[in-house]
């Protein structure tokens, strides 16, 4: 009946957001491309895609964590410590690449469990908890290197970050894999439904038998594992495990998730939207390079974009609430 007239609210908000972001990205490519033709080339797009891919891997998990009403600031530290752990094991302990990679992932698993249990079981504040584990992990990454970063890796390890398939680097394929897999889980699987329910109404979900603590712990572990994976792959890609390699990832990823429709309050968020937000942020840095803008300004512009995004979101939602209530 009226179902066709009034489409579902959540659905339409998500859809319009994705549509708006596609339009925004398209307009951006067109605008900058017309000014600087070198920007809108396949080569540059591949560079953008490569830079994007590392963040996109973590983003897929982070959007789920945001949907569950949590977030994780420890991403940079976890990635650094995992990369350094794998790197040092290969360079200074003669451990094989496979075992070194597994050790790096184990670091992620451990920190993810600490984050998850501290927040979900002990009830610590997620901001302070993940800030603390970020500090601890990045400090440990710096301390372990003793000042010189490991770089002497076997070729089989480099391959993890440098091989190509269908003319695209492996990291881009990793990102594709995780984005598709996690987007399907979030949107269509029971775990995804419970993720939104946990973030949208923790107590209500708990009383209906949703294991809200388990959802939270699972997602903290997921984000930390993805971060660890990125730390290892990034080291393989650039040939060095540096403690500051991915500095700034966490905040950019959370910002992209919010631009893409997630809210820190939980219950909302889409991986595709977050990916489009990330693409926009990434294209801005690239455009700045071509337009000769000081990269330092990019951070400032990203901040303004984030502010505009959340302001527009709040405005649209208020508009909707005033028009909405009782009209169903």
């Amino acid at each position: 009946m009226a179902r066709l007239v009034v489409t579902a609210r959540l659905e339409s908000v998500l859809k319009s957001r994705v549509t708006a972001l596609i339009a925004l990205n398209g307009a951006f490519v067109l605008g900058v491309g017309l000014t600087v033709p070198a920007f809108a080339t396949a080569t540059n797009f591949e560079i953008i895609l490569e830079n994007l891919s590392f963040k996109a891997i973590i983003l897929a998990g982070m959007v789920m964590l945001l949907a569950a009403g949590r977030f994780d600031l420890s991403v940079d530290g976890v990635a650094a410590l995992s990369g350094i752990t794998a790197g040092l094991l290969m360079e200074r302990s003669g451990v094989g690449p496979l075992l070194a990679v597994l050790a790096g992932l184990a670091v992620g698993l451990g920190i993810g469990l600490i984050n998850g249990i501290a927040v979900e079981k002990i009830g610590l504040n997620p901001l302070m908890t993940t800030l603390a584990t970020w500090w601890a992990a990045s400090g440990a990454a710096l301390g372990l290197t003793g000042g010189s970063y490991p770089y002497d890796f076997p070729d089989s390890f480099h391959a993890v970050g440098r091989l190509q398939f269908a003319d695209l680097l492996f990291p881009i394929w990793y990102a594709f894999f995780f984005v598709v897999l996690l987007a399907i889980i979030l949107k269509f699987q029971k775990f995804g439904f419970h993720t939104y329910a946990t973030g949208g109404g923790r107590e209500a979900a708990r009383r209906q038998g949703v294991k809200v603590g388990g959802v939270g712990i699972g997602l903290f572990v997921l984000v930390a594992l993805l971060s660890a994976f990125v730390g290892v792959v990034f080291a393989a890609r650039i040939g060095t495990a540096a403690p500051n390699a991915v500095d700034g990832f966490a905040l950019q990823i959370i910002a992209a998730g919010v631009i893409g429709g997630a809210s820190l309050g939980g219950g909302r968020g889409s991986i595709v939207g977050g990916l489009l937000g990330l693409l926009f942020l990434q294209m801005m840095s690239s455009a700045a390079f071509f337009l000769g803008i000081d990269p330092l300004w990019i951070q400032s512009i990203s901040g303004v974009v984030l502010l505009v995004a959340i302001a527009a979101d709040a405005f649209l939602r208020r508009e909707r609430d005033e028009a909405g209530a009782g009209a169903i």
């Binding site: 609210r9 939104y196 209906q208 038998g209």
Partner: protein, 262 residues
């Protein structure tokens, strides 16, 4: 099923869906509830009334498995059961609609109705099935006037939200429905719709308890009224055989337990 049993004298006596005998609950030296006998009969709306602190919510929580009684036994369909936690009660078909409804506002109606027990196939949630079931459910409930079944609960009125919570309780296979203050948050028109909804649920499959402060609403829908006062049962009356005055005097203690009947 075993909703009716012939007694020796040949009259039909119904086996209560749930019956508690001698239920008591103490918190340290505080006695919240003592020696309560209470039955929910199929096809019947049983109202639980009493002043604040009379023990209504304590009794409701015992039935919903949220708290464990210190003494007393619980029977379902005549068989002794333990309701140690909310899941036990849910599994046995006892569904509670809490006063705060326990809904997730950002999510659409079908997600809320199936919250915690989404139908899946190969791990994938059968969303279309959920939407269809939600629509059927609301059509059968009739009067709540929800035009868009995929609306978020945040966009619904208080009465519509109440209906979503009720639909969830029914859909979960709830045979015993516990409704905590179902009209307290509603306006006049929505209260009326909710009362009609409760009346429409008066089928041989369901036994309903409503806890309410509103005696007009209680008299409107219930078949039986139990009055609690300071943790003990002040009396149970058949609706047709009693008056508001009598119930009020039981609530305030002006009359002591009399005309006890189950």
């Amino acid at each position: 099923m075993q909703s009716s049993v012939k007694s020796e004298h040949g009259e039909t006596a119904r086996t209560p869906v749930i019956e508690v005998r001698g239920a008591a609950k103490s918190y340290g030296s505080i006695r919240a509830l003592d020696g309560i006998d209470f039955a929910m009969n199929p096809g019947e709306v049983h109202a639980l009334v009493g002043d604040n602190g009379a023990g209504k919510s304590t009794l409701l929580k015992i039935l919903s498995g949220a708290i464990k009684p210190t003494a007393g036994t619980i029977y379902m369909d005549g068989r002794r059961v333990n309701l140690d936690n909310p899941q036990d009660s849910l599994d046995l078909g006892v569904a509670t609609v809490y006063q705060d409804l326990a809904l997730v506002p950002v999510l659409p109606i079908p997600e809320n109705i199936f919250l915690g027990r989404e139908p899946t196939r190969y791990g994938f949630v059968q969303r279309r099935r959920m939407v269809r079931a939600a629509r059927d459910l609301f059509e059968s409930l009739g009067q709540m006037n929800i035009r868009n079944i995929e609306a978020s609960v945040a966009d619904l009125s208080g009465g519509q939200r109440q209906a979503v919570a009720l639909a969830r309780a029914i859909h979960g296979g709830g045979r015993a429905l516990l409704l905590d203050e179902p009209t307290a948050a509603l306006g006049v028109r929505e209260s009326e719709a909710m009362l009609e909804l409760i009346e429409s649920l008066k089928t041989p499959q369901h036994a309903i308890v409503i806890v309410s402060h509103n005696l007009a609403h209680v008299f409107r829908v219930s078949d039986r009224i139990t009055v609690l006062r300071r943790g003990v049962k002040a009396g149970t009356a058949i609706r047709e055989g009693t008056t508001t005055e009598e119930i009020v005097s039981l609530m305030t203690g002006a009359t002591s337990a009399s005309g006890e009947e189950r």
